[in-house]
């Protein structure tokens, strides 16, 4: 049990009779890069929000980082990082101020904040822009910054919701390098995306259709199973059955 980062059992979320997430079950191992795929409207974000403690499940069970999502929600929050689909750093604060704020909320000591900030800025080559307002950064840098802030406090698991939306291919590749670096440090990465090529970068993927998980395996196995050359084709075959679109 303890080497599983996330355990989900028949988790559901219903909105006014509409089952956005329909009894999904899966497990994520520690240090894994788990890709949570699906078309728009399949229920990925809803499911993720339940795991992050942003949304109350309608039924089912789950543990995140070993904590129960119903009873130990606040403990989960201490051990996870999150990057939402909408950019959510404060545009009217500087890079440094944003880092300081979030790091402080997570309880990191001021001296450690200082040193880690320097590290982060160097890594992202943003030393000169450290005191610029975040709103002035181009999109790609914002995304990378948001990711770095999300893992600043060395969480066990980091949840990424469509982190590479609207970003150029080079930045996307940089981003995934950052994800690999994170896993190297032992962080489990749970990422949703609708870019099927990114699915190739994951250890395992699941594909959600109409609120349910219709496929769950490594990309390699799935391609073999569906006799496809790319995850794109796998997805097309599976998603063709989909009745819901956003």
């Amino acid at each position: 049990m303890t080497n599983k980062a996330i355990i989900v059992e028949k988790l559901s979320k219903t909105f006014n009779g509409f089952k956005a997430v329909d009894e999904i079950s899966f497990e994520v191992g520690r240090g894994e890069i788990f890709g949570f795929l699906g078309a728009n409207g399949a229920g990925k974000t809803t499911a993720m929000k339940m795991l992050c403690g942003l949304s109350m499940p309608s039924s089912g069970k789950a543990t995140v980082a070993g904590f129960d999502i119903y009873q130990e929600n606040e403990s989960i929050k201490k051990n996870i990082g999150y990057m939402s689909q909408k950019f959510s750093l404060y545009e009217d604060l500087t890079i440094r101020e944003n880092i300081r704020f979030y790091a402080g909320i997570y309880g990191i000591r001021p001296d450690i904040i200082k040193t880690k900030t320097v590290q982060l800025l160097t890594q992202l080559s943003l030393e000169k822009e450290a005191d610029q307002l975040v709103g002035q950064l181009p999109l790609g840098w914002k995304q990378k910054l948001a990711f770095s802030v999300a893992i600043f406090h060395d969480p066990q698991i980091v949840f990424l919701d469509e982190p590479t939306g609207g970003v150029d291919p080079i930045t996307r590749r940089d981003f995934w390098n950052m994800i690999y670096d994170a896993t190297a440090k032992g962080i489990t990465v749970f990422v949703t995306t609708h870019y099927m090529d990114e699915a190739e970068y994951c250890d395992r993927v699941s594909i959600m259709v109409d609120g349910q998980i219709d496929a769950l395996d490594t990309p390699g196995n799935l391609k073999r199973l569906y006799q496809a050359e790319s995850m794109d084709q796998v997805f097309l075959q599976i998603a063709r059955k989909a009745k819901r679109t956003e």
Binding site: C52, G53, L54, S55, M56, N73, E74, K77, K78, I80, Y82, S84, K86, F87, S88, L89, Y90, D92, L93, E97, R100, F101, Y102, G104, I105, Y106, G107, R109, P110
Partner: protein, 372 residues
Amino acid sequence: MNPLKYILEKEFKQIFRDPAIIRVIFILPVIQLIILPLTADYEIKNINISIIDRDHSTTSNRLIHKITSSNYFKLIDYSGDFNQAMTGIDNDKADLIIELPRGFEADLYAQKKTTIFLAVNAINGVKANLGATYLRTIIQNYNNDFRIALLTPGRFNELPIIETTSSNWYNPKMNYKFFMVPGILVLLITMIGLNLSAINIVREKEIGTIEQINVTPIKKIHFILGKLIPFWILGLIVITIGLFIAWLFYGIIPLGTYFTIYVFAAVYLLIILGIGLLISTYAENQQQAMLISFFLLMIFVLMGGLYTNIDSMPEWAQWVTKFNPVAYFIEVMRRVVLKGSGLSDIKQLLSIMLIFAIVVNYWAVISYRKRS
């Protein structure tokens, strides 16, 4: 380190980087306190009166002279044509029409009943009432003088006269500004406090940064305090600016102590900000938040005794007023500034406010959900 410290840091930085807020804090008090009292003058003067004199006697002329020489009335029509006078009322050129009937003097001397007719444009109730009251007083005085003159002194005084002296306390010059400015000050911080705190959380909801906060282990109470404290300090700054302008422009110095005002203001602000936060928690977007706070503001202020008197409200409305924090503060402001009331005089009101503050903010903390 205390997470509260970090969230306060962030909130303060955001506030001071927001040009709109800075402008509002400094410009609004100035506009409101300088222009509003000039407009908010309820002193009834220049009541326009049309006089129709069908008698044209010495007596009627003397009475008319008495009326027109008073400071309250302005004679605008003396044509004697009733229709013209009525048109005057329709056009809002005249507020009152007074008609002295033919035979006025003769009847009076003959000790027969004489009646003067008065028509009042009563749409504006205040003006109408006061105008009619002034007129009645002037006529009564004239009547008394008339009587005394006829009853020659030395004879048995059949009619004892009750002399009434009246004095006006606390605002002897009857300066309406002294009455309005304290109330406007309350309006000012209520407007700013309510609107700013109402948009605040909703804004984060709309932009999306609220999610990032909700996913952290931050405690609800820290989050709410982080929103409350900066605006609370801002509110106190606004009051200071307001009091300063009140002194500078109107020479208003409270008879009581500034300390009393600040103590009450501190508690009052907690209530207003708490209400704003509640609105912010329940509203889905900034539009809603603004709408709700606007309407609430209107109701609170208009029923708070700024515009009309609470005493003249029906029972049920007076009851509702007991839940209106604005009413409390306006009352306290006026008392402290004009009557010199101190903390002991208002301690009952203050304790009620404290209870409200605790209830409202407790509600705000409880109703804020990190997980929906």
